[in-house]
């Protein structure tokens, strides 16, 4: 389905897909014994929505993303994406890490084209690559090497790399965590723009309450390890959101309270 749309010129953005996380539990097997990280997560995500997963470190948020992406198999429970259970990774479920993880021996262009190349559909001067670069504002950097890019630019390349496959589900694992405050603000706006234009379902993992409130429609709060859902809020604010709005601050207080920070 994704391949077919990639073969034609992109006319309309694909619609997002729904995610159903069903009674998901997971534990790591350590030499000292099993370590439970997730405790019965049950969550349904509407297609096209922007959901944020918020929680303290160790709460298993990244693990949820890895399982939804198909990189790890859960010890209990299942994940169903767009009606089919997840058995392995797939380009329709793009995952962006905290580290851009660009292949250092490839140029920006060849990094962005990695997905199509892996599927054997990459052509010379493939327009999809140029388009993805334009979407993240990096036209002209096609020939650069990763070591020549700043942190923010590298992360944008990582976004372009994920976008070139026209993913229906975008999984973001603290993508802006390593960037400086100013770049973060810029890229947050970028993400919103891409989401609004692309129409994909976005699942963002973050530890930044403000970021979650700025970007998402729905905020899921997880407890400490083993993570379980302790809060599920609708963020009913109009975009663009301002931090000094009273409702914003109210939601912020609620979330912090759920996380155990009482003011």
């Amino acid at each position: 389905m994704v391949a077919a749309s990639a073969a034609q010129a992109i006319v309309s953005p694909p619609s997002g897909i729904g995610v159903a996380i069903q009674h998901l539990s997971h534990e790591f097997t350590l030499p000292s014994g099993p370590l439970p990280v997730l405790d019965d997560i049950d969550l349904t995500i509407e297609p096209g929505s922007f959901v944020a997963l918020l929680g303290p470190s160790g709460s298993g948020k990244s693990t949820i993303l890895r399982i939804v992406a198909g990189l790890d198999a859960p010890t209990h429970g299942a994940v169903v994406v767009d009606g089919s259970p997840v058995t392995g990774p797939d380009p329709s479920r793009a995952l962006v890490f905290q580290d851009p993880t660009l292949l250092p021996w490839r140029t920006v262009w060849r990094n962005v084209g990695l997905g199509p190349e892996a599927l054997g559909t990459l052509t010379r001067d493939d327009p999809r690559v140029a388009e993805a670069l334009e979407r993240v504002g990096l036209t002209g950097f096609a020939r650069a090497y990763p070591h020549q890019l700043s942190g923010g630019m590298a992360q944008r390349v990582a976004l372009a790399r994920a976008l070139v496959n026209e993913p229906a589900l975008f999984l973001l694992d603290e993508p802006l965590g390593k960037l400086d405050a100013l770049t973060r603000v810029v890229l947050q706006k970028e993400l919103l723009r891409l989401w609004e234009a692309g129409g994909f379902t976005a699942l963002l993992v973050t530890h930044d309450v403000d970021e979650a409130l700025t970007l998402s429609d729905r905020l899921i709060v997880l407890s400490e390890r083993p993570g379980r859902i302790v809060g599920d809020l609708q963020v009913d604010l109009a975009r663009p959101r301002r931090h000094d709005e009273p409702r914003f601050q109210e939601l912020r207080r609620t979330v912090l309270g759920l996380l155990g920070f009482d003011e």
């Binding site: 797939d90 995952l95 993880t101 292949l103 021996w105 997905g115 892996a118 599927l119 070591h147």
Partner: protein, 344 residues
Amino acid sequence: MSISSIESRAVTPSLGARAASTALSESRSGWLATLLVSGATAVWAAATAVTLLVPDVRPLYTTAQIGAITALLTALFAAGALAGIAQPRVRAFVRALAPWFLVLGIAALAWQLITAKHKLLPLPYFPPPQTILDAFESDWSLLLESIFYSMRLLVLGVGLGAATGFLTGIAMGWSKRAHYWINPILRTIGPIPATAWLPLAFVLLPTAFGASIFILALATWFPVTFLTWAGVVSVSRSYYDVARTLGARDRFLVWKVAVPAAMPSVFVGLFMGLGNSFVTLLAAEMLGVKAGLGWYITWAQGWAAYPKVYAALAIIAALFSGLILLLFRVRDNVLSWQKGLVRW
């Protein structure tokens, strides 16, 4: 006044003071450099004089030629020093060369005195430079033939060893089963020196030529396998994760992710393999070989004709340097993406 300008005033001395101090340090290093340059020229001139004027302690046939070479080197250096008076670039080059040139000049002078003009060190192990030049002159065609034979052996043996080592290392790094079977072989066979294999290789392989290739290949195979494996194994898991989420299958992961990521390590293995192979060349050429540098050395050593041995060693050193340089160039090309990250 802004803070930045106050700071810059305090830290940077005035322009005039800076120029003066630079000039002073330059002049101080200037006369030292001039001393070195003239010293080096003088030593080489002395070496020339000693070579040509002091009588040889026994008949040597190429003293005049050695004297001519020494004189030529002296003249070139002196010309460079003189040209450097007017040309700053030449001056810098000559000054950079001077310390080594001085040391080499002292060595040349000492060598002549100790071996050609007096018999201070035991023959035939410490021959005068005249005899080494003589060895080059009388055996030049045999040496050329030997170079050809050795290079042929090296290219075939090292090529085979490197190629198989590369593939073995990838297999070991990627497949648990391959690792299970190959690792013990690597650990036990690897450390055994190739020379120990000589008689066995000779019996097992149909020709002596095949045995020589086998020995060289084995010597190369071990480090290349080991370091390729190490490179593949140390590839960051996140590279695989990213590629997998983008739809990559195993074949793509191995050849387009693992191998390029392992290349820096592979090159280290190639360098080690190349070095190993030269050491092994001598042993590999002990069997049924018609000519070759290792063969030549063994033959000359049997006669205690050490000037020939040293001549051949000099050729081996030059060849080895050349090949290593070539490998460096290849590496710089393939690993050009590392330019910003790592200094080698």
